[in-house]
Amino acid sequence: MQVKRIDAKSAELLDPGSAAWGRARSARVVLSPTPLAIQPTDYVRASWQGRPYGKVTSMRVGALHNGRDIFFRLAWEDGAADSKIADINEFVDAAAVLFPVAPDAPLIGMGTQGKPVNAWFWRADWERPKNVTAEGMGTTKRREDPALASKSKHARGRWSVVLSRSLVANGGPAGTVSLSPGAAWKIAFAVWQGGNQERAGIKAFSPDWQELQIEA
């Protein structure tokens, strides 16, 4: 996946409807349900046995940077936006991009002890995305991160979400990935279909790390 460098203001690139996104080469990312067997508790496995999840099967991803901030535009089909928890049995749509922090951190299981991963987590009912660090399943820590931003819209049965952060980790919590122009890194994606009560490890994800080439 190419992250093109573009001379544009961050506010412009944060807008999923901006014309600038026409210059990004977007790619289709195939998603699949996370394996039931690796869900962390008997209860989660028993309650989702035979119940379909990971309902979003693919997304289009574009990526741009302006030398200071990096932007990912995620777009996927979703007939109904679940963007508000109106009842206590409801969940909202969400999406995340995940990076290895240790170069050999495993994707499945979200890292492992000593090999952390970092996610930028967008949820439809939040003003700002959150910064998530993890060293294995059940260890995730969600934190506020002033360097993270997002803008989203749902129109014509489709979510378009731009997630952005400064390339360097500065200002983020410990364990935030540091990216730089000219470097290659890895990335993965996940989507939760709120209307299907998807949350935690019950989600659709890209089962392999994708190569990320950040243009110098």
């Binding site: 209860y43 028993a46 309650s47 009842d87 206590i88």
Partner: protein, 354 residues
Amino acid sequence: MVGQQVDRQLAFVFDLNKCLGCQTCTIACKTLWTDQPAMEYMWWNIVNTMPGRGTPRDRDQMGGGFDAEGNARPGVLPRGRDFGEAWDFNYDEVFYGGKGQSVYLHPRRPGADGAGEAPDWGPNWDEDQGAGEYPNSYYFYLPTICMHCTEPACLAACPRGAISKRQEDGIVLIDEDRCDGYRFCMEACPYKRIYFNPQRFISQKCVMCFARLEQGVAPACVRQCPGRVRHFGYLDDEEGDVFKLVNVWKVALPLHPEFGTEPNVYYVPPLAPPRFDENGDIDEENPRIPTEYLRSLFGPAVDGALATLKQEMEKARNGGQSELMDVLIAYRWQDMFTPFVQDPGELERPPVKS
């Protein structure tokens, strides 16, 4: 299942023959723990009329707990309206709107979608309905709280390890900093005693007033009960009421033992007067509360418990001594929750944290 062995276990015995459904326990808990915004609908302690649908509505059919082999059983996530929402009332209209003579005060469902809509359920909606036909109608009250189970299904279900069982006293607690609001615990709890706080995005439940216990004070629901229904203490304290009722006399039983979580709230099952037969004569053979119904709640051990209760009542009635009746009557109030007999009013109040 987790199989954690705790050093000691705190437990409750609720005597259903004495509970009068006054909800003082409910309000004691409410004012102490759930009076914050977004907790309006929460009743960590609730008293329901049985037979009845419970809180949340039809909770016994919502799954959760473990099957006979110890496998997790899937459960349902209740809706707000199943628990019973906190209603709004038309106070303005009746008291200040000049319609005091034409409009009566009535509840409305909260929220934009419920505005104006009449509620069709509440936390104690079927109060005093019970079952049976006159003159054989019957009901009794069933107070429930978090059961602080020996095998907590909530703890086993949480993918974040946010729920723990304290080693020193077996209290089951949700760590609000670890909790991410996934609500698997709510589904897994077969007693449906966990609530979701949509504002803080965490699950919350009875904490057994652990902060009081640490000062030697009994839980608020126990201490406030005007009917002397609630016995409380360490399950292994051979001098304590709980041990005597559960282990010596075996008249205190877990609710729905088949849920497999080994709850630590025990119930003295309700005795009932005899039925009237079709001629209007007293039918001594059949109690008005069908024993089959009580078996469905407390398991087959209920027969023995009821027999012991009757026998000991008879003994006392005939002028004999019954240690069991003395315990249940609770002549000395503080014996009910020894050693947690500290009067909270005599404690120095800690400074309020900001």
